[in-house]
Symmetry: C2
Subunit: 474 residues, 2 copies
Amino acid sequence: MSDQAAIGLIGLGTMGANLALNIAEAGHRIAVHNRSPDKTRAFHEQAGALRDRIVPTETLEDLVDALASPRTILMMVPAGAPVADQIDALVPLLAEGDILIDGGNSDWTDSRDRATALGDRGIGFLGLGVSGGAEGARHGPSLMAGGHEAAWAAAETVLTSIAARFGDVPCAAYFGDGGAGHYVKTVHNGIEYADMQMIAEIYGLMRDGQGRTAADISAVFDRWNGAALESYLVEIAAEVAAVIDPATGRPILDVIADRAGQKGTGRWTVMDAQRRAAPLPAVEAAVTARVLSGEAALRAEGEHLFPESDALPPLTDAELEGALIAGKILAYSQGFTLLSVARGEEGWIMPLDTVARTWRAGCIIRSAMLDDMATALEEGTCARPLAFAPTFAERLRAHVPALRRVVAAAVAAGLPVPALSAALQHFDQLRQSRGTANMIQALRDRFGAHGFERTDRPGEGGQHGPWVATDGSA
Amino acid sequence: MSDQAAIGLIGLGTMGANLALNIAEAGHRIAVHNRSPDKTRAFHEQAGALRDRIVPTETLEDLVDALASPRTILMMVPAGAPVADQIDALVPLLAEGDILIDGGNSDWTDSRDRATALGDRGIGFLGLGVSGGAEGARHGPSLMAGGHEAAWAAAETVLTSIAARFGDVPCAAYFGDGGAGHYVKTVHNGIEYADMQMIAEIYGLMRDGQGRTAADISAVFDRWNGAALESYLVEIAAEVAAVIDPATGRPILDVIADRAGQKGTGRWTVMDAQRRAAPLPAVEAAVTARVLSGEAALRAEGEHLFPESDALPPLTDAELEGALIAGKILAYSQGFTLLSVARGEEGWIMPLDTVARTWRAGCIIRSAMLDDMATALEEGTCARPLAFAPTFAERLRAHVPALRRVVAAAVAAGLPVPALSAALQHFDQLRQSRGTANMIQALRDRFGAHGFERTDRPGEGGQHGPWVATDGSA
């Protein structure tokens, strides 16, 4: 029995291999398997001091035989059909009570359906969001779990032992049944899109509006990383801006093409948000920006047709920093509101402060500010936006004026700031007690007899203007 | 045979009843049916001079018997399950070659699936987008058809005879198989959302930023309706702003609650656009604004927490008009680009100039500008945005400066202009040949080894920065 492994892992790509090493290093015996046995053998041979805790297996049957019962298998294969195929291949080999964990970037609705289907066959299932890239996988990722609670109870010890830690607290948590874990990961990625896009926008203002060098911009991000904006993304923004391309001797940022890829999670997030009527304008803007980054020929034609550009009005570094702080708070606030809506609709546990805590280390959006967000979300009721929590409302009062100046300046100069601008527009709508939808509703009643509510008869919908016939033909 | 009706219609709600009268008035004999026979009888009795051409029927069997063969039946029942149930009830009564037309606001994917399912049984099907509200249905709607081409050929004469006309050209067209017609209608509605939202934003600047009365605002819209912005929506904006509420003696706009309803087509449009990676920022902003209009308590709290407001910098009426012209062109350009992408992906005919022509009269977004758009889309290649067509590029060069001044002023004053702002941000990204996605891609390569393209080696993806180990562990 002591020979048997505590956990199995399938798929020795970058993430899988690094997670396997991480698990072994945490003291667990792990059986590994890859479609190609050569890869499995090579992985085992290169595992150095950890070799003894790693059991290479050539077939799925070998893998299953190598595991202590109940068996726990972590699948690190590409999302979509490969995960489905892997599950189909494994199920006949498993016994009731065994557990499958999908650690890929799966669509949360797939995880929801798989939890149901596997549960019906007595197999435990976790959909596990893993963030932190290759480095995180190796030394401590952020882990967001959803699925069967009993499966979490069984796998918790191993998963917690390999997770990143913020102080003493491991960044691993269970958020609810079905696809809860992958849902949290998807929203994490959506926020990551907004975070990166806002950094890119501020970078663009410094580069194109202020004519600053990459080295100078690096120094600015580096300074910001020592204060309110302390975060992994700002840290590596400073880092990449300082790097010189060995081939040309130029700053590498100036050599990298302005085309950003995407793997779909950002888009999934905004589509889900639209479906729930809890939209995420800052993330939507970031997803759109990535799409447009792929349209180089069109943008060249656009610049040719519309070359006009005014100088960027003067902006201090403190204003740019304030804009990024305010924009970031607003984007995160939108993201947490979506989580709150989804939690209610799906019946998930998902305490928002635990989500924030799980993101404090290990994952790509880790930052000092997330610790304060965890505290604020603990105090606040979940129905209120994070932006309205006292500590963040105070920061917004301090920094939104800078965000306004930066967005207005960029608009005047014709430099795009879509995510910062979308965050601000959303905020300005949220602080307008009397909006302008009365005009929209008047128009809708005028052309379609859709009805409206009167301010002097609140709660009574279906009122009509004198332009609508009242004989029922409306 | 001469007694038999040319077409049958099911569902005598507002839209159905008005379409039936329209069809009868156009000289066609029409058999009508409603779930409740009382409604059918009442409709027939109130049809006045048109009574003789209308055949009331009590059962579906009666309806089917009343029709000339091949039978054509227009269903005007609510989208979703009611349409599916109606089809299920009708199919057993029909013969091969008969035709069903769904004139409701159906999801285009439902129409696609129904065309396939009915086609397999030898029944012709059209998914028909009908725009124009009750008035349009009675006197001439805009009709957007998709489905079986043979069904269109059979129904074309009747449908064309009841459609709105722009000059001599009927606003009715066939756009391709499956859900093409309902797709065009959905995008129409998305554009309608943006159109109305931009009107509401300009109204808000006049009301809240310039302190103008509804009567004054009405006069401004009325003037604009006599020039470049001539359109049904600007016309009725002027009209509703002038109306006095009989109950209070106040302008009715000031009595209508600022909460706008929505029936889903706007949201469908932006979700479909996201799925196709052809995003519609102006429509997204408009959908979000409607969602936020429903959050009155939250907005009141927001205003309390963040009361700061600077005065709106001076803006002339010409600047406000220019902003609305530019915003409108940009929103429509985004919409036509989505149609172009969808057409390619779905294999639809859907000439974009025909779409614009079909929208010139009858529908809610009808306007003088759509005639120019039809001409521009005829000349242009479909892959280029409408905004880049010479006549519209020229208008944008003339009016974008006003849009910039208006958005910058609103941002400074804290008055929301989300759709105008989103349209402008999209435009500014489209005219930036060197964007800032190089920063995003540098970050993605730094944390996830996602790779980038180098500007000096175009077409070779998968390059990495010196921060990435090249031994494959990335």
